[in-house]
């Protein structure tokens, strides 16, 4: 069945289906019950599945993740909602030292099938701590898998795949794209969870993006076409582990790569991608891998965020710079 859904609604339906499929799936978070979450991603789920499966928790992120670990040890599959990207840090210790390491410490005796959902990124005109892009903190952490969805179909399927996976997964949702619509085939998943996908084929330069920047990259590709430049856009989808196969294949063809993300450039995903691409495609590169990212400043006040965030023009500027080499 093919539907047209927003990303937010696709996530909601994906969560619903995961809960129907497995009674051990429980949702935990702040305001996810009657309110349905501040973005309404869990809208209606408490009404239909009860307070025992859609749990409004005390206001304590470490407590949420820490008790999710206990529930996972008890056989549950907790799906945790962090209300905004900037509020995950109180739970950082439990995520980095416990969630990420339990399987390893137990020599594989136990798994923690926990999904930590984080609406991330800027562009919604919010006050501080509501527009962060903390994905590198988690991708650098061994023992966690990290994914980001960028469109309704992936939202619908990736959340279900993440919940079904026994790996602990940090699941990034492109907050400012929640209301964007797209087709969803609810019968079968088009891709595996940890797979990067060429979203728009091209031949001149490879543009790597994930989450909210995929749309930006695609728009840039459309604009570049008018200038006679063909951009290949890859939606990374999985940030850890990275799926480099399609990336290498593409860059070997194009000889140029641009990484786009909102997070600060310094030690962002772009750094790792640039390092790997350079190592693997050293003789194919016509220019160094370039990065179009947020600046290395705290996320600025809302009235400046348009200046801070990579946009179509900055992507095209990156392309220009690459060709200028």
């Amino acid at each position: 069945m093919a539907d047209t859904l927003t990303i937010g609604k696709a996530l909601n339906l994906g969560l619903r289906r995961a809960m129907e499929d497995d009674p051990k799936v429980v949702l935990m978070g702040e305001d996810i019950g009657k309110l349905g979450g501040v973005f309404r991603i869990t809208d209606g789920l408490q009404k239909d599945f009860g307070e025992d499966r859609v749990i409004d928790t005390p206001l304590a992120e470490s407590g949420i993740v820490g008790t999710a670990i206990g529930l996972a040890l008890r056989g549950y599959r907790p799906v945790v909602e962090i209300q905004f990207d900037g509020f995950v840090y109180p739970a950082y210790d439990q995520i980095v030292c416990q969630v990420a390491k339990m399987h390893f410490r137990s020599r594989g005796k136990v798994s923690l099938p926990i999904v930590i959902r984080i609406p991330f990124g800027g562009g919604i005109g919010a006050v501080e701590h509501h527009s962060e892009s903390p994905e590198a903190y988690f991708a650098h952490t061994a023992g966690l898998k990290v994914v980001a969805c960028s469109n309704p179909s992936d939202a619908y399927w990736m959340i279900q795949q993440a919940i079904a996976s026994d790996d602990p997964i940090v699941f990034f949702e492109p907050k400012r794209r929640y209301w964007e619509k797209g087709p969803v085939d609810t019968d079968s998943a088009p891709f595996a969870l940890h797979e990067s996908v060429v979203t728009r084929p091209g031949s001149d330069v490879t543009v790597l993006a994930y989450g909210p920047m995929v749309r930006t990259a695609l728009d840039a590709a459309t604009a570049a076409e008018e200038d006679g430049r063909s951009l290949e856009v890859i939606d990374l989808r999985t940030l850890s582990p990275l799926d480099m196969v399609p990336v290498y294949e593409s860059v070997r063809r194009t000889g140029r790569a641009i990484v786009v993300h909102e997070a600060p450039g310094n030690l962002g995903l772009g750094a790792e991608l640039a390092a790997r691409i350079t190592e693997e495609c050293f003789y194919s590169l016509e220019a160094p891998v370039l990065r179009v990212t947020g600046y290395d400043t705290p996320y600025p006040a809302a009235r400046l965020e348009e200046e801070y965030l990579p946009d179509l023009d900055r992507v095209l500027d990156g392309v220009d710079r690459s060709f200028g080499w």
Partner: protein
């Protein structure tokens, strides 16, 4: 203590019994064995003026948000008495660490009400000097400021600025939801262990966004303190006199070296959590109506009327003045300039950074290239 005793001693967390009250919803003054106030008529009228003014300015901000002039607004509606009472209880040398909702406290500190509006408009992230204002930057990460307050209070001890009437004290504001954060509980521990001159002022407005108090505790919040080794007291947070008296006493205890106190100001968030929130999804109108009857302003007006301390002309002039202030505020908000884009590269580090400098230059060059091209 056996379980049975523990159960008995624990009224449900939401019962508005057990609190210090000096002024009833009907505007009658009542006495309390431990707390009293000694206000003259001028002072009582002053408190009324404060309450009306902060409510009016708050309503103006809400209106500004509705009109797209603010990105968001966190209204204090219903919490005026807790904020004016505690705010006026502060002495000039005292330091306050607010959440994002303490516009009334800020006003009572004598701070220009425009100060926090840049944050809500999105032109800055506070940007004021917390030390010069003796009022911390609004803190959005729930509970974080309670540790800052405690550390600051530890510094007062180190400076030897306790033990006299001139001693300094600190007040840390936070909500009922915040009591669940590790940080808040750690701040209780540090404050207790170091006997820091800090008053923990919890505005229990019954909700953390959509979650009612029962999701944070099963016993009254003020009871949390005793297990950490300092007193806790619940005050009628809609009673400005009691809020003042209890806060003043706690602050004075602190400045005299008697350590921390937890105050639970029992009140109600009459509006939405913020302008982004829709409370009809999670609470019933009848509950709001019930609290309407306990309005913090109406009872002071009744008192002033009953005791003949103010006439219609006074009330009208207070309203008019508040309106004038609100209009002024609006005009100044509209005039708040957007920040220069390079502002985001400023103040990342006190000593600067060549990396940030380089990025600022790249940014400037990039923008110059558009000017050159005549737009892109």
């Amino acid at each position: 203590m056996t379980r049975a005793e523990s159960k008995r001693s624990a009224p449900p967390p939401g019962a508005d019994v057990d609190f210090v009250q000096l002024l009833t919803p009907d505007g009658e003054r009542v006495t309390h064995p431990d707390y009293s106030v000694d206000f003259d008529a001028d002072e009582l009228r002053g408190l009324y003026r404060d309450l009306v003014t902060v409510r009016k300015l708050d309503a103006e901000a809400t209106a500004l948000q509705r009109q797209g002039e603010l990105g968001i607004w966190a209204s204090l509606l219903g919490q005026e008495a807790a904020q004016v009472g505690s705010g006026r209880a502060l002495r000039p040398q005292d330091m306050a660490f607010p959440t994002y909702r303490e516009h009334g406290v800020l006003y009572c500190r004598g701070i220009d009400p425009i100060m926090p509006l840049g944050l809500f408009r999105g032109v800055d992230q506070g940007g004021w000097d917390p030390i010069a204002n003796k009022f911390g930057i609004y803190t959005i990460v729930i509970g974080a400021q309670t540790l800052h307050a405690t550390g600051y209070a530890m510094g007062i001890n180190k400076d030897g600025k306790v033990g006299t009437d001139e001693g300094e004290a600190v007040i840390a504001y936070f909500g009922d939801g915040a009591t669940s954060q590790g940080d808040v509980n750690e701040s209780f521990i540090f404050a207790s262990v170091y006997n820091a001159p800090v008053v923990f002022f919890c505005q229990n407005n019954q909700y953390a966004i959509s979650e009612p108090l029962q999701r944070q505790t099963r016993v009254p919040l003020y009871q949390r303190a005793s297990g950490f080794g300092f007193p806790g007291v619940r005050v009628d947070g809609n009673d400005v006199l009691a809020s003042y008296a209890v806060t003043r006493a706690a602050l004075d205890n602190a400045r005299h070296g008697q350590g921390p106190t937890l105050i639970e100001a029992y009140t109600y968030r009459m509006g939405a959590h913020t302008t982004s929130d829709d409370p009809t999804r999670y609470r019933v109108a009848s509950e709001v109506e019930e609290w309407q009857a306990k309005d913090p302003i109406a009872r002071v007006r009744k008192l002033l009327e009953r005791e003949g301390l103010a006439d219609d002309e006074f009330f009208a002039s207070v309203d008019a003045d508040a309106r004038t202030e609100a209009v002024k505020l609006r005009e100044r908000v509209l005039a708040l300039p957007d920040p220069d884009p390079t502002e985001m590269f400023a103040n990342v580090y006190p000593n600067g950074s060549h990396e940030i400098d380089a990025q600022r230059e790249q940014f400037a060059a990039y923008h110059a290239s558009f000017a050159h091209e005549g737009g892109h």
